[in-house]
C-alpha cells in the first residue's frame, strides 16, 4: 500500500525568509509526486509535480521541490516567503499517476 507522510502539522515562517514543507513517501515502482495548496473553503490548487527527470522541480508562484530517492522525500521549498503563501499544503503521491494518496496536510503561516 502506498502512503504519504507530512511530519509537520504547522509551519511558521517570517515573511522574506526561506520556507520548507516536508513530505516523505512510500510507493511501489517509480513515484509520481505532487504538491497542492488549499485556501479556506476552496479546492486544491496545483503547484508542481515530479514524474521523472531532474530532481529539482520548479512550479507556480516561485515554489520548487526536491525529489530525493534515497531519502524518499519530496520537500517543498521557496527562497523568500510571502504572507499570501499562507495556506494548507498537501503532498500527494502514487505509483500510477492516477490513484493519488494525499498526506494529512501542513498549515503554513507566513508572519508579516
Amino acid at each position: 500500500a502506498q502512503s504519504v507522510a507530512q511530519p509537520e502539522d504547522q509551519v511558521n515562517v517570517a515573511e522574506g525568509n526561506p520556507l520548507t514543507v516536508k513530505c516523505t513517501y512510500s510507493v511501489s515502482g517509480n513515484p509520481y509526486l505532487f504538491w497542492y495548496v488549499q485556501y479556506p473553503n476552496r479546492g486544491l490548487q496545483f503547484l508542481l509535480k515530479y514524474i521523472t527527470g531532474d530532481n529539482l522541480v520548479k512550479g507556480s508562484y516561485g515554489f520548487e521541490a526536491e525529489f530525493n530517492k534515497s531519502q524518499t522525500s519530496f520537500h517543498l521549498k521557496k527562497p523568500s516567503a510571502l504572507v499570501s503563501d499562507s495556506g494548507l499544503y498537501f503532498c500527494a503521491g502514487s505509483g500510477s499517476a492516477r490513484q493519488l494518496t494525499f498526506g494529512s496536510g501542513t498549515q503554513l503561516t507566513v508572519l508579516p
Binding site: 504519504v4 486544491l44 496545483f46 509535480k49 493519488l100 496536510g105
Partner: protein, 117 residues
C-alpha cells in the same frame, strides 16, 4: 483559465435526507474524480470515472452513496440517506486522460461543504 465547477458550494441537511452534488469538469477532460475531505485531513478518493465508466469505486460506501457520469461529461454524487458522519468537503477533480500528455495532473473544483445535522 478553465476550471472545474461544482454546486452547491454549501449544503446543510438533516440526517436521513437525500443530498446530491454536481460537478462539471474542465472541457475535454476524460477522467473525473470525487474525493471526500474530512476537516483536518487530506482528500480520500471515493470514485474515479474514465469517460462514463467507473474505474475505481472501491472506497465508495455503496449502501448509501452513488455516482454517475451518464454522458461522460458532468457528474452527480448522491448520498441517501445522509448520516452525521458524512459531514465533510466533497471535492471533484478532473484530468485530461490517457494520451493527453498531462494525464497525470488532477485539477480540483472549489468543493461542496456538507453539514449533516
Amino acid at each position: 483559465e478553465a476550471e472545474v465547477a461544482q454546486s452547491p458550494r454549501y449544503k446543510i441537511t438533516e440526517k436521513s435526507q437525500a443530498v446530491a452534488f454536481w460537478c462539471d469538469p474542465i472541457s475535454g477532460h476524460a477522467t473525473l474524480y470525487w474525493y471526500r475531505q474530512i476537516l483536518g485531513q487530506g482528500p480520500e478518493l471515493l470514485v474515479q470515472f474514465q469517460d462514463e465508466s467507473v474505474v475505481d469505486d472501491s472506497q465508495l460506501p455503496k449502501d448509501r452513496f452513488s455516482a454517475e457520469r451518464l454522458k461522460g461529461v458532468d457528474s452527480t454524487l448522491k448520498i441517501q440517506p445522509a448520516e452525521l458522519g458524512d459531514s465533510a468537503m466533497y471535492l471533484c477533480a478532473s484530468s485530461p486522460g490517457e494520451g493527453a500528455g498531462e494525464a497525470d495532473t488532477q485539477y480540483f473544483g472549489p468543493g461542496t461543504r456538507l453539514t449533516v445535522l
